[in-house]
């Protein structure tokens, strides 16, 4: 059975790196950054300014308990 791959937001914000599978690295994380690089190289080769890159945003399911508030100053 093929395991469902988690999206990059989940992998970056909510996942223990030791639990990220090699498949998720190969099919989600590496392609994400390689696509950015390809876009930048292609754009810069034409002399144009490198395009802006969309930041990986926190998943909608991120909860308060997932945040590290130990250094929060009120």
């Amino acid at each position: 059975m093929t395991q469902t791959l988690r999206d990059i937001s989940t992998l970056f914000f909510s996942t223990d790196p030791l639990e990220i599978t090699d498949e998720e690295f190969e099919q989600v994380i590496l392609p994400h950054f390689r696509a950015q690089r390809a876009k930048m190289l292609t754009t810069e080769a034409t002399g144009a300014r490198a395009p802006a890159t969309k930041r990986i945003s926190a998943p909608a399911t991120l909860q308060l308990k997932d945040l590290d508030l130990t250094k929060l100053k009120l």
């Binding site: 970056f12 223990d16 090699d22 690295f25 190969e26 590496l30 969309k54 930041r55 990986i56 590290d68």
Partner: protein, 326 residues
């Protein structure tokens, strides 16, 4: 992973290997020698007394993590052509090392940096792009006689002065030694938020760190290096750019560096003997502003109170081992 030794508040720093029991520093690295050259008072606060900012700067955290990831790639490269599995291992290591794991529950919290350029996403981007940029690198890391890669090479050598019969030492770690264009070079990796211009590379000569590395690579290793390669990376909010430059030094320049190091080391002994480390007020606004400017700005009678409140005590020890094998 670092040479910082945490100390609880109100406690003296534990005895460090690089210092005598009287507090005289006998082994210097570029951090401590650079601190002494910058300002005696800065040296006293940061190295002698060990007052460090409570939170590690995202720049330092980022730099340490990127070094660790590329060190792992260097080790893999010596064993054979790099593959994506090596990249995955380096990325997974970096993601785990960047975050924190609760020692009791084992729950992991990823690194959450608010910095626009130095954060987990840009770190992994840099590692992936570095791998792709240099997959067929013409710079080949040397293999040592024991089969290991010439990576994170620790060195130490006597500078030619003694105190109570003991040699003063200069020590440090070279990122790597390798062959490039038929010659051997040391290599040091740098990351910056600014552009990789001629002005950026010009800062590495003269340089306490780079000139010292150049000298070390010739004194300590049997294969004389032709200079140092600065392996630089510009980190942007959504991109990374790479560039390299070679920093050569003549024998006379290296000798001059050593003379200057000996002079500064003698000064550190004099400051300790006199229990006085003067301020170099000309350095307060350099390097983005001194960490201790807020302390030095206050009346001497209250400085210690603010140091205890605003900083933590972490002893920097140049003789503590570093790297994968530490």
């Amino acid at each position: 992973m670092t040479r910082l030794i945490d100390t609880p508040p109100g406690q003296p720093l534990p005895q460090r290997k690089a210092f005598t029991s009287d507090g005289l520093q006998m082994a210097f690295d570029s951090v401590s020698l650079g601190a002494a050259k910058r300002c005696p008072r800065y040296y006293m606060y940061s190295i002698v007394l060990g007052y460090q900012p409570k939170d590690m700067s995202p720049h330092l955290h980022y730099g340490i993590l990127f070094h660790g990831a590329t060190e792992r790639l260097d080790h893999a490269r010596v064993k054979g052509p790099l593959q994506d599995s090596d990249l995955i291992a380096a990325c997974r290591w970096a993601m785990e090392a960047a975050g924190t794991r609760d020692p009791e529950t084992g729950v992991f919290r990823p690194w959450r940096s608010a910095h626009e350029k130095k954060n987990l996403e840009s770190l992994i981007r840099a590692i992936v792009w570095y791998y792709d940029e240099y997959i067929n690198d013409t710079y080949k890391v040397l293999q040592l006689a024991n089969g290991r890669a010439a990576v994170e090479l620790s060195f130490r050598f006597p500078v030619g002065m003694q105190h109570a019969g003991e040699d003063y030492l200069y020590c440090g770690h070279l990122d790597s030694l390798g062959e490039y264009g038929g010659s051997v070079y040391g290599l040091d990796r740098k990351s910056t938020g600014g552009a990789l211009t001629q002005m950026f590379f010009a800062q590495f000569s003269p340089s306490v760190q780079i000139t010292g590395y150049n000298l070390a690579s010739r004194l300590v290793y049997s294969v004389p290096s032709s200079g140092m390669i600065i392996d630089a990376m510009q980190v942007g909010a959504g991109f990374v750019r790479f560039g390299r430059d070679i920093v050569p030094h003549t024998e006379a320049q290296l000798s001059e560096w050593l003379t200057g190091a000996m002079y500064t080391i003698q000064q550190t002994q004099r400051w300790l003997e006199q229990s006085y480390w003067p301020m170099n007020e000309m350095a307060c606004t350099m390097y983005g502003g001194c960490t201790y400017q807020g302390i030095c700005r206050k009346d001497p009678s209250v400085r210690e109170r603010f140091l205890e409140a605003d900083f933590v005590r972490r002893g920097w020890d140049p003789l503590e081992p570093r790297g994968i094998d530490a």
